[in-house]
């Protein structure tokens, strides 16, 4: 078979990493801008504050990246997180479990939510949007029912709040929660990039039918992927509860859109098949930095969402232009 000899398509092979570097560049641009705009922005405590603000949404976005790469979507992460927080309260306060058991239980509960989503999507074949929208409503209702519509406080475990707030660097106020977020980022990156789960996520998102024809048990792997996303939801729920030293039974709606936005800003395609954890983290940071920066520079609050909306549009557009040129 004769064919044209061509040079190795280096451009194509570098595409992944170049993309992340450039999304990072736009993050840095925003950082630099705000550093000039306000003297309070680029201070250690504010930067840690940004990381803390990014932690919960970021962890949700990490898990969702798996689902989106696999061509699905998960709308239940916001209220699911709330429900996991409530379950933490139930385990620790109502049932008096020790902290380690309660935390593990709540994370596994998140996994269960994800598993049910996965079951609805892969075994019953419901469209992911509907399956997880249903779960979103169910979880938001269950949070109220289980908690009796009242916040649950961790009176038995006053130290539970340290999970998020404990300062890992003495004196420097670098909270444990942020360290957990960074660790999870690495874990998620490895799982998505280097393991069989990640490979099948990309494969299913790229062409589910072909993946199934290749003998991959698509049903099982989709279950796994949604369950992974659920575990991240569980972790986020525990950390949110720890940060607030209470399990709040309301809220969470809208958080799913924020997390999905972070994923997509990070270059993951909602079509499935393409994406990266590094991108997601950068996406989550862009949103967090922007929100914080606007507050620190005291932009009137009614303008803030206008600016955030525009920046998201511009950031994704620039990212696309660049990718088209590459």
């Amino acid at each position: 078979m004769t064919s044209i000899p061509v040079k190795r398509p280096i451009a194509a092979r570098m595409r992944g990493s170049v993309q992340q570097v450039l999304a990072l560049a736009s993050l840095i641009a925003i950082l630099v801008f705000f550093s000039f705009a306000s003297p309070y922005f680029f201070t250690p405590s504010n930067l840690v504050g940004i990381l803390m603000a990014a932690t919960v949404t970021g962890i949700l976005a990490l898990g969702t990246t798996f689902v989106i790469v696999a061509g699905g979507i998960d709308l239940s992460i916001g209220t699911g997180m709330i429900l996991c927080g409530v379950m933490t309260g139930v385990f620790l306060t109502y049932w008096g479990w020790p902290v380690w058991a309660g935390v593990t239980g709540a994370i596994l509960f998140g996994g269960l939510i994800g598993f049910v989503n996965g079951f609805n999507v892969s075994v019953l074949g419901l469209p992911p949007f509907i399956a997880t929208l249903g779960m979103m409503l169910v979880a938001s209702g269950l949070s109220l029912v289980i908690s009796g519509t009242k916040p649950i406080y961790f009176k038995e475990h006053p130290d539970f709040q340290l999970l998020m707030n404990f300062s890992v660097i003495p004196g420097a106020r670098f909270p444990l929660g942020v360290l957990i977020f960074l660790t999870l980022t690495v874990v998620a990156g490895v799982v998505l990039g280097k393991t069989i789960v990640g490979r099948y996520a990309f494969s299913i998102g790229s062409n589910e039918a072909a993946t199934a024809l290749s003998g991959v048990n698509v049903v099982r792997w989709k279950l796994t992927i949604y369950t992974i996303a659920g575990l991240f939801v569980g972790i986020a729920g525990v950390l949110a509860a720890s940060r607030l030293s209470s399990a709040q039974p309301v809220g969470g709606m809208g958080l799913e859109l924020e997390a999905i936005a972070a994923v997509v800003i990070g270059g993951t395609s909602l079509q499935g098949g393409r994406g990266s954890i590094a991108g997601t983290v950068v996406g989550a940071l862009i949103v967090a930095v922007l929100t914080n920066g606007l507050r620190v520079t005291a932009v009137p609050q009614e303008w803030q969402s206008v600016v955030v909306g525009c920046v998201i549009l511009v950031a994704v557009y620039v990212d696309m232009l660049r990718r088209k040129r590459a």
Binding site: M1, I196, V197, A210, T211, S214
Partner: protein
Amino acid sequence: MAALLRVSGASKRFPGVQALDGVDLELRHGEVLALVGENGAGKSTLMKLLSGIDRPDEGEFFLDGSQYTPGNPRHAQELGISIIHQELNLMPDLTVAQNIFIGREPRVGGFVLSERALNRRTRELLARLGLPLEPTDLIGDLTVARQQMVEIAKALSFNARVLVMDEPTAALNETEVDTLFGLIRRFVTPATGVIYISHRMHELAQITDRITVLRDGRHVGTLDTATSTVPEVISLMVGRAITGEQRPRAAAATGDPVLSVRGLRTRALLRDVSFEVRRGEILGFAGLMGAGRTEVARAIVGADRKEGGTVAVHGREVAIAGPADAARAGIGYLSEDRKRYGVLLGRSVRDNVVLASMPRFTSPLGLVADRLIGRTATEYVDRLRIRTPSTGQLVQHLSGGNQQKTVVAKWLVRDCDVLIFDEPTRGIDVGAKDEIYALLDELAAAGKAIVMISSELPEVLRMSHRIAVMCQGRITAILDNTDATQENIMDYATRFNAEAAEGTVTT
């Protein structure tokens, strides 16, 4: 000794269609068995039953004499049946290596992948098969032909006993077909066998031992290749005689140029492509895989960006930014990639047929004339013999060849002055091919200018008044039909430019 694979009384019914009706088939050890039949005869359906994708309504399968009931594709693979499906089944976002070994990735310690080992094994496999592919290339960046090679490599990477190939050569040209045949010959041992599905009759003599013919979902006969002739096979297939191959009629047309392309360039590949097509003329495009024929067409209709060059219709230069502009200027383009750029799989035959001509079926108020659409669709379904229970059938339920006919019909309805057909007969059966040839002739006679890109040299030679040969993004010759032979076309198609070979193709 029992046959390697035996099918007994297989039946399969889809809503409105009896796709298979009690088919028997026997594959012996060490043979290549051709499976032929018209579009929609049921060949692909039978293979889907064999691989466990669909379940038969009736019938049994035996592998080496023992009953075999495939539960799913993986199960079939484990039992040693490896299939290349008619529709490509690849993951465009994964690399060549990742696609070939999907589900069988080399791992270190359970879950962690070893990308290094994966690429090494792929490189070994590709070297063994002599396929010029890079393990780390993304599938989505490859042409259909190259994707087909990946499918072939994947099928051969299993330790299969039975290899089924459903039209593997539809996207390949002669040279590549030869490579494939080499692979098949090396694959066949006394313990293995191949089922080979193709609409290219002349290939059968080269590679197969016996030929099984299906018609309307029934087994109508099995012939020894050595003792039968092509017309014999064809008449079994279609139930009537077909004249078969012939050189074209009349000399080159002499009308005014309808389409003139000057100095066309693209960033990736094309260099100074210039040609014109006259009224009533069919201009064939020949070349090796990746020579750039498709790219010429896509650049003309504005599907890809042009770096330079002009396109004129009827002598007037037209600015074409996208296919819509091209269509307005009277240029229609039928893509070689049916699934991606041709059909709307989820819509009806009717919707597909009129898609390019909707304004014609729309009242000034914007209301569509469904009655007229129905009538037109029926007319073309009859004319092209598209096998479908109704014009309302979803295209995804048609056989591959009938889908292709639907796309052809779409452009016939549109009635453009310039028609660019890229591999128009891909996957179309012999009978229908003749009909499409006749149609092209008719169109040319009616004054259209036609560009026909084809990887089948006999087809190019038979249909074209003139033949443009491409190599590495350049037109190396434009031959008159009378001067053209397979040999001199191949010669021009391999005029590699040393300098271009190193540099110009990339970036």
